[in-house]
Every structure is written in C-alpha cells, then in structure tokens.
C-alpha cells in the first residue's frame, strides 16, 4: 500500500487538514466520554458512540477522496467495529478504545505536515496506522460476528407498526438497555414541526447521565396543522416514580414498555482492570449540557475563517483609528480658531466614529477567540498515554476548558502544557507503593484550572506528587556556579524555583534528584513568553507542585501606556503595570553595585531604561530631581523601571517585528500610533529577566541618569 501523503500545491490539502483536525477532535471527545463511562462501570452514552462512529465515517470518506489509503482503510475497519458495537454484536472494551485513541493520535500526527514526505511525524503516523490496521484485521479474521440474541418484538410491548421502523442499531440499543436491567419508557408530546430536532436535542441533554433517547416515532397529526404527535423511546435506570419526577413537565409518560420478565442482569458493556487513567474535561456537571449545546451550535452554524484574512481587516481598523485621531485633532484646531459650532460637530462625529470602531474591533477580535477545549482534549489523550507508559494511575481534571483565548495562543500553547504535565507524571507523581506509604490515594491527580482574570487567561496546573526538593535545587545552583553557597542559602523558595527555568539547569541526573522539575522547563518558559505570557512555579515537599501560566487573551490588540525614554516613545502593556510612581532621589538605595527603590515598605530592584538603551539612544538631561518610575510585574517578580516621562493610555493593534528582529529580547512587537509614529512594545517578562541576579544592565550608575536628566 502506498504511503499516505498530500501534495502541498493541491488546493484541497489545506481544507482537508482543517476539516480532519475538527473530526479528530470530535472523535477524541467522544472517546474520552466513552472511556469515562467504561471506567466507572456505567453504560456508555449511545450519543457518544454515534459521534465516534460518525467521525470515523466522515474521515473515511474524506481520506478516500484524496487517495489516503491507509487512513481510509483504518477508518473503515474501526467504523465496522463500532457499527458492530452499535448493533450489539460486539463489545466496546478498553482494547478497542485504545486502538481508537491511537488512531486519533496517529491522525493528529499526520495532520501536522501531511505534505512533507520525510517529516518524522508523518512517518511515525504512517507506521502507527499500519500497525493498527494490521492488528484490527488480524482480530477481525479471528472473531466471528455475534448474532443478535433475541428479537425485540418478543420482549417489548410496542405496536408492530412501531417495531417495524426501528433500525438494527436502535434494536441493539434497546436490547443492551434491557440487559442492563433498565426500564424502557415511551414518552409523548405534541411537537412543532419546525423545532422537532431542537426539542429532542434538549430532551437528550436533559436525560444525560440518567437515561438515553433511543428514537422517536410519529404517532399522528398534532393538535395544530404545523405539529405532530410524537412518541419517544427512552431507556433509563430510574424507577417509574423517580423517572416521572425527573422528567420535564412538558413530556408525558405514555407507557412503561418493559415487562419485568424481560430484564436481565447481564452486561453488554465491557470493563477492564487495566484502567489506569481517568479523565474528565470540564467536569462541572451543571455546565456539561451547556457545553454540548454549544458544540452542537458550533457544528451547525460555525464557519472557518483563515486568520490571515483577518489581518488586513484588523490593519484597516488600525488605520481607521489614525483617521479617528485626525478627526479629534481637527476638532481641537477648530475650537482654537473659535469655530465652536464646527468643532462640536466634529467632536460628535469623532465620538460616534470611536464607538463604532470599537465595536468593529471587538467583533474582529471575537472571531479570533476560540476555547481552550481543543487543547485539553488533545492533552487528555497524551496524558492518558503517558500515565500508561509510566504505569501510574492518574486522573486528569480540567475545569474552565471553555475559556476563550486567541487562536494563535491555542495553536501554540499545547506543547508547553504537555511538557509540564508529562514532567508531573514522569517525576512528580509517585509510584503507588510510595503514595500509600505517604497516606495518599493510589491514583495521582493532575488538576488544571483555567479562568480569566482581567485581560489575562490563567492556567493553573497542579499535581499531588512529591514536589521539588529545595535543598537539591540549592546545591545544584552552587555546583553550576550560578551563585555562591551563601547567596544560594539566602534565596527564598520563590527565587530558588526561578532557576528551574534556566537553560541547561536540569540534566538527566537532576531529573531524578530534583523530581524531574526543570527538564526542558526553559523551553516551556521561552514558548510562554513568546506568547506574551509568564510562568511561575510553587511547590511543597510531598504535597505537590503547581505551575501557573498567565497569558494574554488576545495577541492582536493591547492596552498600553506610552512612555518617553531618551527622546523616543515606547509602550508598555497595561496588564504588566502595577503602578506609576513619582519618586525622589532619596528613595534610591545602592547595595552591592545594584540600585533599589525604597517604595513604601518594599525594596524593589530598579532598572533604568535610559541607561539600558544608551548604546543607541542618547539619554536626555533631566530638569527635576523627581524620578518617573513604572512598577512592573511579571509573574511574582516586581521591579521598578525608570523612564523619562509617562505618556497616555492607548489601545493599539499589535504588529509583529519582522524575522530580522526576531532575536530582540526587549520588544514583543510594534504599534502604529498614527501620524507616522511607530512605537515599540516592551516585552516586560524579558525586560525583568535582564534584572535577574546582577545582570550587567542593572549595575549601571543611576546617578549618570540623574545628572543627565529627563525628557525634552
């Protein structure tokens, strides 16, 4: 069989990838839900099984259309297996689920760069798919299909005309429910023809967790010409009394269809002791139906937008903002010349312009926002695999996965998050015996909590493992010559953990002695910072470790404060500014060659931007002995930054610096303020890093600035 590959120049390649990624994500979601049911020894939701079946079917068609033989064959084999499960002819067990999860993983790999024949991910995907195909075909050849046990008509009190329209899969679902000892109810309602599907979807969600909608059958014309009398078949483990109590009032229970003799305690659902990992994404039960509604809505009404198409629109918004400022300037000029009436009209126009422009900008930005759910679904699969590989039972609990963030962040944050989670599984969470000795539950917990705070999205990742051993970190700092023994001793725990993000701080040897923390964490930090974020770590011995990531909601628009430094305007993201301070020279202190600001009861390290920029921008003379200082924050680090003067607050459209300036560590982008004024945006996280542990830029003599004095 020829290997799967797509020509890069084929216009269908991009749309295939986009659609296939969505299908793979849907498949992954359904698999996680199915697995959760199996591990809880509960009957799985047929809606989830159907979703997985549909995903495989669609992917098979797409792959066949583009000649991807391996992918199409694999999808076909798995679709056939799931069809048998739907028909009650086969059991859904964890072995089959593993194969399905591996398939989703293989497709995710393939979809990264299907046009690069020699790409390692594509090759790995091809090999994995072929292995899966081989094992599925081998099993299919050995196992004869199960036959249906008995006819539904013999056990159900349904009229023959109703029975005649049941599909084989629905019959199998009924048999499965009865084998589980569940009751079968027939509900009825007069439904509007235009909203039958919506009403049934609502019922399906209402029943989630305690019943399943199997099918609906028309009984006859309804009370009005536009309505229909519908009977709905529902299975539930609830007793008739309890069932009636939980059912929405709009539905009437017509019949209990299950004769007592038809119930059996047999199970059609497989279970396995192999279960090691238990995953739930968005576990807030009250929110689950809402999330599903939202997904349904997205599936029906969403359109795909290439982000590149939004860029010129956003750029135009930036240009319009410049026009808007021009309008304001014109109004002010008219005011000065005494033409108050025209000035008032212009100002009115300016306000209306501003209002609409803001709406337009918000609308564009909203299009860029997507939920983090797709990241966590992919992570769940990888974490599940990592837990199995490490032979440690782990449960992953994610809350707030529906938090929205810029699409570019969603695309790039998965890898750093996975790095942290794998680290936690490999080195943080202990072996079962060790956990028992510490009085911890056998199953380790990885908890991810996502929420929005101000203009930032916070992602907290916490494990209940062994934590970081501070003393070993301290010893490593000294051994690497990053600090003397006495300096290392004086470091607070927070200062100590900052070293874990240093490149090359951890090696394989440290991976075991330092609970694995620090392995590749420099890469994680770099990636997060590149997205305008910051990362922090907290840890308690034998209690666990927590990483907190703070990311901007959007990368496209930023609220900033402009500042003047050596005759040039720069801007600083407002989210990074704690406060603005006008200080006296007397508040400055010099210790060990470094400058500090005594600010209220706090002593903050101080960085002078005129000095830092002196190589390219001549510092200006200052006219007063007052110092304009920004108190900046990145994670838990606070520092005072000296500028010549504060400017104004602005909302700017962020533009990336070109590849030729990609190595700039001090600036994250540029913004056009209008009137040919381009300003650079300070990368606060990187800036504060230059202050770490006596970096040269900080040892400069502030008095030089003081003598040279402020802005023109």
């Amino acid at each position: 069989m020829e290997e799967d590959w797509l020509p890069p120049e084929d216009p269908q390649t991009a749309s295939f990838c986009a659609e296939s990624r969505e299908i793979t994500e849907r498949l992954g979601r359904a698999l996680l839900a199915l697995e959760a049911s199996l591990q809880a020894n509960e009957r799985f939701e047929h809606a989830d099984l159907n979703e997985a079946f549909r995903s495989l079917h669609t992917q098979k068609s797409l792959a066949a259309m583009l000649g991807l033989q391996t992918m199409a064959s694999l999808a076909h084999e798995l679709e056939s297996r799931l069809d048998k499960v739907r028909l009650g002819q086969a059991v859904l067990d964890l072995v089959l689920l593993d194969q399905l999860f591996d398939t989703a993983e293989a497709w995710t790999l393939f979809l990264q760069t299907p046009w690069e024949k020699e790409n390692a991910a594509r090759i790995a995907s091809q090999e994995l798919q072929q292995r899966l195909l081989f094992s599925l075909r081998a099993v299919s050849a050995q196992v004869p299909p199960r036959r249906a046990k008995e006819g539904v008509e013999r056990t159900l009190m349904l009229p023959p005309e109703s029975l005649a329209v049941l599909t084989e899969a629905e019959e199998a679902q009924i048999r499965s429910a009865m084998a589980q000892g569940e009751e079968l109810y027939q509900l009825t309602q007069n439904l509007d023809l235009t909203s039958i599907e919506v009403t049934l979807d609502a019922l399906r969600e209402e029943l989630r967790g305690w019943g399943q909608l199997i099918t609906y059958l028309p009984l006859g014309e309804g009370a009005t010409p536009d309505s229909l009398e519908v009977a709905v078949l529902v299975s539930s483990r609830e007793s008739p009394e309890s069932f009636r109590g939980r059912l929405p009032d709009t539905w009437a229970v017509l019949d209990l269809l299950t004769p007592v003799s038809a119930r059996s305690s047999g199970s059609l659902v497989g279970s396995s002791d192999e279960a090691l990992a238990d995953f739930s994404v968005g576990t807030d039960d009250a929110r689950a139906p809402l999330a599903r509604d939202e997904l349904e809505h997205q599936a029906r009404y969403a359109v795909r937008v290439d982000l590149r198409k939004l860029e010129p629109i956003l750029s135009s918004v930036g240009e319009l903002a410049i026009v808007k400022n021009g309008l304001l300037a014109l109004g002010q000029r008219l005011q000065r010349t005494g033409d108050r009436s025209s000035s008032a009209m212009i100002r009115e126009l300016h306000r209306a312009f501003e209002r609409e422009l803001q709406r337009l900008q918000s609308g564009i930005l909203e299009v860029r926002l997507v939920t983090l759910a797709q990241v966590f679904e992919a992570l769940s699969r990888s974490v599940r695999q990592a837990a199995r590989d490490a032979n440690r039972p782990v449960q992953l609990i994610v809350t707030g996965a529906d938090t929205e963030v810029d699409k570019l962040i969603v695309d790039q944050i998965g890898e750093p998050l996975l790095h942290v989670l794998r680290n936690a599984i490999d080195h943080g969470i202990e072996e079962v015996a060790e956990r028992r000795a510490l009085g911890k539950p056998d199953e380790g917990t990885l908890a991810i909590n996502v929420y929005q705070s101000g203009g930032r999205v916070m992602i907290e990742m916490e494990d209940d493992g062994r934590g970081v051993e501070s003393e070993k970190v301290r010893a490593r700092i000294v051994r690497l010559g990053l600090a003397t023994a006495s300096e290392a001793e004086a470091l607070s725990e927070r200062e100590l953990f900052v070293f874990l993000f240093e490149p090359g701080f951890s090696t394989r040897e440290q991976a075991s002695t330092l609970s694995g923390r620090g392995v590749g964490l420099d890469v994680v930090k770099t990636r997060v910072q590149r997205l305008g974020g910051s990362i922090e770590i907290r840890s308690s011995r034998n209690i666990g470790t927590a990483f907190t990531l703070s990311l901007p909601v959007t990368l496209a628009v930023l609220r900033v404060l402009t500042i003047h430094v050596s005759g040039q305007i720069f801007c600083v993201p407002l989210a990074a500014i704690d406060e603005l301070v006008i200080a006296e020279d007397t508040q400055l202190r010099r210790e060990a060659g470094r400058m500090f600001l005594q600010h209220r009861s706090e002593v903050l390290p101080l960085l002078s931007l005129p000095t830092l920029f002196a190589a390219r921008l001549l510092p200006r003379m200052r006219r007063t002995n007052k110092l304009s200082l920004l108190i900046l924050r990145s994670g838990a680090t606070r520092a005072a930054v000296l500028v010549d003067a504060f400017g104004a607050q602005e909302e700017v459209v962020v533009k990336p610096l070109g590849p030729s300036l990609a190595h700039s560590r001090l600036f994250s982008g540029a913004a056009d303020l209008g009137q040919a004024q381009l300003v650079l945006i300070l990368d606060v996280a990187s800036l504060l890093e230059t202050n770490q542990w006596g970096a040269g830029t900080f040892d400069t003599d502030l008095r030089k600035d003081a003598s040279m004095d402020g802005p023109a």
């Binding site: 921008l617 610096l657 070109g658 300036l661 990609a662 190595h663 300003v679």
Partner: protein, 150 residues
C-alpha cells in the same frame, strides 16, 4: 551583460540594484530605534501598516556611515526608502536621492569587493556600483546572526 537597475545616491556615492528585488520606493520618515538591535539596523518604520526593518546600507557596505552615529543630525538628509524583497520579509534601505530606473549595460566586474557587488557601470562619467540585494542581505544576516528564509 545588461540589467535593469534602480540607481540611487547615498552620501555622494552612486549605487544601483537589480530592479527585480525592489518592491517600492517611499518617502523616508523617521524610524523607531530598536535599542537592542545590531548597529546595522537603524530601526523600524511603518509603510501603510506594514512594519519594515530599516538597515543602514553604508554600514553594511563597510562605508563609514553617519546614520547610526551621533552625527546623524549633521548627515545628509535621507529622502527615500527603498523597499527590497528578501524572502518573506521586506527590508528598507534609506537613501539620499533616487536617480531612476535604467538599463545598465557593460557591467565592469570589480575585483575584491565581495559577492554583494555585481559590478559597476559608468553613468554620465561617474561610476555607479551595482549591488546584489540578496547577497548583501545574506551578508547582513550573517553578521547580525539572524536567520531569514530567503
């Protein structure tokens, strides 16, 4: 050998570059200085919303340039910005004066000046040096340690 070039003047010296590499010429505005950039980088400017990195051509050619120094105020004013295509990026080079697009015939090869100079031709009795923008920028990138995809 004959080639269509854009001829220009920079600090009294005549230069030209292959017109194929020129995307446009705009009026030169001031740049925002990037304090941590290589001295070859004068700064960044915006051309109709696009952020353009502006390079000091004279420094890159090892000619003493007043642009990047404190003598900038006394330097000959830069009137135009030539935007050159380099891979996925457009790079700007400020120049004193545009002389026009012309056909440079009978290029005379110059020895020992590096691959970024394709040769020279006589223009009204003055020597005009023809640059290869691609090779020039490769040299700049190598010196600034920047990786670009040409």
């Amino acid at each position: 050998m004959s080639v269509d070039v854009l001829a220009f003047e920079l600090f009294g010296v005549l230069y030209a570059c292959d017109s194929v590499n020129v995307s446009e010429v705009v009026r030169y505005k001031s740049v925002a200085v990037v304090p941590d950039a290589h001295p070859f980088v004068l700064g960044v400017t915006s051309v109709r919303g696009r952020i353009i990195t502006v390079f000091d051509l004279a420094s890159a050619l090892d000619v003493v340039s007043p642009l990047g120094s404190s003598a900038a105020m006394s330097a000959e004013p830069m009137r135009h910005l030539i935007l050159l295509r380099y891979g996925s990026e457009e790079l700007g080079v400020p120049i004193s004066r545009i002389l026009g697009v012309e056909n440079a015939e009978e290029l005379e090869l110059l020895a020992g000046v590096g691959p970024h100079v394709r040769g020279a031709y006589l223009r009204f009795g003055r020597t005009c040096i023809v640059l290869s923008p691609v090779l020039l920028f490769e040299r700049i990138m190598a010196q600034t340690g920047t990786q670009l995809t040409a």
